[in-house]
């Protein structure tokens, strides 16, 4: 492909002629100050993650089963969100970028439907056993 600079040529590359299209958004970039802050926030959250491991939250909060796992996952999600939002600059990006950035994470939830199977398999057993016992 003849690498054409943006000057118009015989193929009708009127790039410069068209001028800046008013509808296009452009991408803003973050500054190093905020990135450094985020970096230290991430390190702080890492400390929280490791700290959680040696603390049994179940002793404090009894009524939520698997609270440790839930909190650990929430911390991980916060960390990931910080990376996505600031480091990967979805914040300064266009709406389209944000759409695609989150679509994948959301779509993964659909696949969580697999759990629907594994969590209800034993229901069948129970119902079956009850039917047998009734007989």
């Amino acid at each position: 492909m003849a690498s054409s600079h943006s000057t118009a040529d015989a193929h009708g590359h009127g790039a410069l002629n068209r001028g800046r299209l008013p509808g296009s958004e452009h991408i803003n970039h973050p500054n190093p100050g905020i990135l450094t802050v985020i970096y230290f926030a991430l390190l702080g959250l890492l400390v929280v993650t490791v700290g959680l491991y040696s603390v049994d939250l179940q002793k404090v909060i009894k009524f939520v089963p698997g609270i440790n796992l839930i909190v650990a996952l929430i911390v991980a999600v916060i960390k990931a969100a910080l990376v996505v939002w600031f480091f990967m600059n979805v914040r300064g990006g266009t709406r389209l970028i944000a759409l695609w950035a989150f679509l994948g994470f959301i779509w993964l939830l659909f696949m969580g439907g697999i759990f629907m199977d594994y969590l209800t398999r034993h229901w069948v057993d129970q119902a079956g056993w009850q039917a047998i016992q009734r007989r």
């Binding site: 492909m1 690498s3 054409s4 600079h5 943006s6 590359h13 790039a15 068209r18 800046r20 299209l21 296009s24 958004e25 452009h26 991408i27 803003n28 970039h29 973050p30 500054n31 190093p32 100050g33 905020i34 990135l35 450094t36 970096y39 991430l42 390190l43 890492l46 993650t49 490791v50 959680l52 491991y53 040696s54 440790n68 796992l69 650990a72 996952l73 911390v75 991980a76 960390k79 990931a80 990376v83 996505v84 600031f86 480091f87 990967m88 600059n89 266009t94 389209l96 970028i97 695609w100 950035a101 994948g104 994470f105 779509w107 993964l108 696949m111 697999i114 759990f115 594994y118 969590l119």
Partner: protein, 322 residues
Amino acid sequence: MSTSPSLRAMEANYVPAQAHHGAEQELFPQFEDIDQQNECYVVGMWTFLVTEIMFFGTLFLAYAIYRTLYHEAYLDAHHFLNVFWGTLNTFILLTSSYTMVMAVWAAQQAKKWLTIAMLAATIVCSFGFLGIKYIEYSTKIHEGLFPGYGWNYTKALRILEEEHGGGAKAGGEHGTAAEGGHGTAASSHEGPAAGHGAGHAADYSEIQPGAVTFDRAPKEGFNAMTGTVPETIGAPVLSAEATREETRGRHARLFFSIYFTMTGLHGVHVLIGILMMAVLIVMYLMNHKLVRDYIPTELIGLYWHFVDIVWIFLFPMMYLIS
């Protein structure tokens, strides 16, 4: 760390620099203007990352399903993973993400040597990460924890016991589980050692290598199998407790299969990242026309942050099971 003026002001200041870049950047013939081209590249990279999310997401899902099914075996097995190395590796990866994002920033500012330095720092970090992974992997393989070849859970349990000392382990987060009646695989060796210890070891040495093998395929094809009973069905019948222990061992093996697959694929992604960053540095040194602009650095940065995110989830899920 620079004292930053307000973000908005920075971004406002930044616009001329970007325009400056746009003028230098090569505009490919299919695009109308530089903003369109840049957004196309960033969106293109993100759509690719969406596929990566689904790719690793599937593995996480498999992990989560087996963890729900075999929670206790997972709890046992994760003690073989070294939390210190894991934490250190997380720290290293987070740092590499930071240096990467600084490399992108330097590239946007057209600071060539700062970009190269930051990319190099990222590569150093990722080699550190891979080095630690090498240490971890080789330890596991020596202990007999690689599920493919040389799997020997008994040996691994013994090593774990020797390293940590029986009492300390049982007194720690293990205690409740052991008292609760389902002795974890680790503590079962301390408790009933007098009566069972030797017997168990013998059971494992007999069963582990033999019963769980993958070379069962009859050599003459599936047709040859008709009429013969698969050998697994004919395996020796064990006592209830031994069966339970053996099942634990198998589930632990499942855990390590997933562990090695996930960390292995993550490691492959790290390697690819290193390769791309190395190519990028060479291009900067050559003053290649593609790196007149920040977009290549930005795209590799996006990829690298994604690798980081995968590890952010891998670390608590593998190393910190509670």
